[in-house]
């Protein structure tokens, strides 16, 4: 043997009191990791505090009721708020059937062939396309080609396409989570595939699908770039009354106020941000509530 024989078995050198897991190196490493994690968390905290401090003073009834204005004190978010509500309503109503329908077809009906694989690849790719490109699509296809003009409807359709991958993916996961035993039970008594899906599988998957919808809408509510690109207005002094009106939305209004040179508008922008984050918080709370209340553990 060219290497030394093993040391004689004596265990007295074991109880050194030193701990490798507690050595300076090990502890420093752990501390560094923890610090890095904290930076991310702290940043969120600082951001929220900063926004709150800047904006809480401007958050009042006037702010909610007024239209936009050249004067910071009079500037209000009402057109943007109504615009966002219109948009979200349309997006929800349009994206739900299309997204869930696509998920049902892909999960329950589609054969595993090249066509289906192609759709899968497309969903994955579309999820990674920058949102501003969707804006260009909306501009070319809805605003111009279909002559919808720069209306709420065109904006909603643009956002629908943007969040469709999110909705499809989460709806598929919700459907996949339903155990096959349920499907088999229905099929075994002679139900057709559609009857099985509509009466058994889909109802069981609804909580997960709802969570996915809220996820999608949370994404849509904060999107700015695609809407600006397809022609949403940034200075709006009227309230949209229908899907064929021109419009603005909350994130766009925030962007507009942030870009103004006068310092007071930053406070107004911050107030808008508080409102937007509040809406997001509400949506997520609803999603968590739904998930905990209705999700079945199979």
């Amino acid at each position: 043997m060219s290497v030394a024989a093993p040391p004689a078995p004596s265990a007295t050198s074991l109880a050194t009191g030193r701990r490798a897991e507690r050595s300076v190196r090990a502890l420093t490493f752990q501390a560094v990791l923890l610090m890095c994690l904290s930076v991310g968390l702290m940043t969120l905290l600082v951001l929220l505090i900063d926004v709150f401090r800047d904006g809480v003073g401007s958050l009042n009834a006037d702010f909610l009721n007024n239209l936009d204005s050249r004067f910071a004190r009079r500037a209000g978010i009402r057109p943007a708020l109504i615009g966002t509500l219109w948009l979200m309503g349309l997006v929800a109503v349009i994206s739900f059937p299309i997204g869930v329908g696509a998920a049902i077809w892909l999960e329950e009906f589609a054969p595993k062939n090249k066509f289906t694989a192609l759709i899968d690849v497309n969903i994955a790719n579309l999820a990674g396309v920058p949102s501003i490109v969707y804006g260009l699509l909306g501009l070319a296809a809805f605003v111009r080609f279909m002559h919808m003009g720069r209306t709420v409807l065109a904006g909603a359709l643009t956002l629908v396409l943007l969040i469709l991958p999110v909705i499809i993916v989460s709806a598929r996961e919700a459907l996949r989570a339903v155990p096959d035993s349920i499907r088999h039970g229905a099929l075994a008594v002679g139900a057709t595939t559609w009857q099985t899906v509509s009466r058994h599988t889909l109802p069981a998957a609804i909580p997960g699908i709802m969570t996915g919808m809220i996820l999608g809408l949370s994404r849509a509510i904060g999107e700015t770039a695609p809407l600006i690109t397809m022609g949403a207005l940034t200075y709006v002094n009227f309230v949209p009354t229908g899907p064929l009106d021109r419009f603005t939305a909350m994130p766009i209004q925030i962007f507009n106020w942030t870009s103004r040179p006068q310092a007071e508008f930053q406070n107004v922008a911050a107030a808008g941000i508080i409102l937007l984050l509040g809406a997001l918080l509400l949506m997520n709370a609803v999603a968590v509530f739904l998930r905990n209340r209705y999700e079945r553990r199979w």
């Binding site: 077809w105 920058p130 904060g222 700015t224 690109t229």
Partner: protein, 306 residues
């Protein structure tokens, strides 16, 4: 004795009449996905082709001045691309170490209780709209941090935008890397621990190398996201195309320029209008390439531990 009545009707289809129609409708919903891709490619290509009729490839890809509305108009995309890459680079420098470190901590050190609290917080960070991050960059990062620490920082600057972009992608890197690390089988960790390795060694020499393909995919996807980012760079980076490596200066990215045009009164059909589609195509191609690369990496190296 086989009874005719038992097998009668077996071959008749049970499906009710409406169901055929329903199936077609469902299929159409899925086809919307394909239509979207076709739509994107068509809308982009059409105007881009028109654009390249007016502007030569050479000028676009190698020109160093971007001034589409001046006379004479210049269409060199390099300042915009350089700004995009500089800001993305800064974002990567911020987010890669912080994101990966967070992922290692969450995967290898944190107790379940800690993970249950921290992961939702990271989700919240991921859900912050980019307008808000842009606001934060402009009104907090620049005045409070940069102008105090780094002299010569302009009001609009690439550094603040880059930092904010980094903040935006930290949750993405942390989450995907952590998933990759948790997928490393426990038996590998046990094997190393049983030889007297410490948790630090196990994490850095066993787990991270084993999860490397997933971590690489996380990085690439995050880069792709950063390149496509619009509002942060528009608000905090500025609308002034500058070819420079100095992050304290204001510079305009590809995405910011598209916003700038959309905000203005650029008449449809003008070359300036077509530029946003040319830029859109450039963005689309770059992000598509990166996303495909990341999927390939994951697929190629996935079977590595079983």
């Amino acid at each position: 004795m086989a009874d005719q009545s038992v097998t009668a009707g077996l071959t008749r289809s049970r499906a009710r009449p409406g169901e055929a129609l329903i199936k077609i409708l469902l299929r159409l919903c899925a086809v919307v996905v394909l239509l979207t891709t076709v739509g994107i490619v068509a809308s982009l290509l059409f105007e881009t082709v028109e654009f390249f009729r007016d502007v030569g490839f050479g000028e676009y890809f190698t020109g160093t001045t971007w001034a589409p509305t001046f006379k004479p108009a210049r269409f060199g995309v390099l300042p915009l691309v350089a700004a995009t890459f500089l800001i993305t680079l800064i974002g990567a420098v911020v987010a890669f170490p912080l994101g990966l470190a967070s992922a290692i901590y969450l995967s290898e050190y944190a107790s379940n209780r800690v993970r249950k609290i921290v992961k939702p917080i990271l989700e919240i960070l991921a859900g912050i709209p980019t307008v808000v991050l842009g606001y934060f960059a402009l009104t907090f990062i620049t005045p409070t941090l940069l102008q105090k620490l780094v002299p010569g920082t302009e009001v609009f600057n690439a550094l603040a935008a880059g930092i904010a972009v980094g903040i935006m992608i930290i949750p993405m890197i942390a989450s995907i890397s952590e998933d990759a690390m948790r997928a490393v089988p426990q038996s590998l960790r046990q094997g190393a621990l049983a030889m007297g390795a410490t948790r630090r060694t196990v994490a850095t020499k066993i787990v991270v190398p084993a999860a490397l393909s997933g971590i690489a995919a996380a990085f690439i996807l995050a880069l792709s996201r950063a390149i496509g980012e619009t509002m942060i760079v528009t608000i905090a980076g500025g609308l002034n195309p500058t070819l420079s490596a100095d992050p304290r200066q204001s510079m305009e990215t590809m995405t910011a320029y598209i916003v700038q045009v959309s905000l203005g009164d650029t008449p449809a059909g003008s070359t300036a209008y077509k530029t946003i589609f040319a830029l859109g195509t450039t963005l689309f191609v770059i992000t598509l390439a990166l996303n495909t690369l990341s999927y390939r990496i994951v697929r190629r190296f996935r079977e590595k531990y079983e």
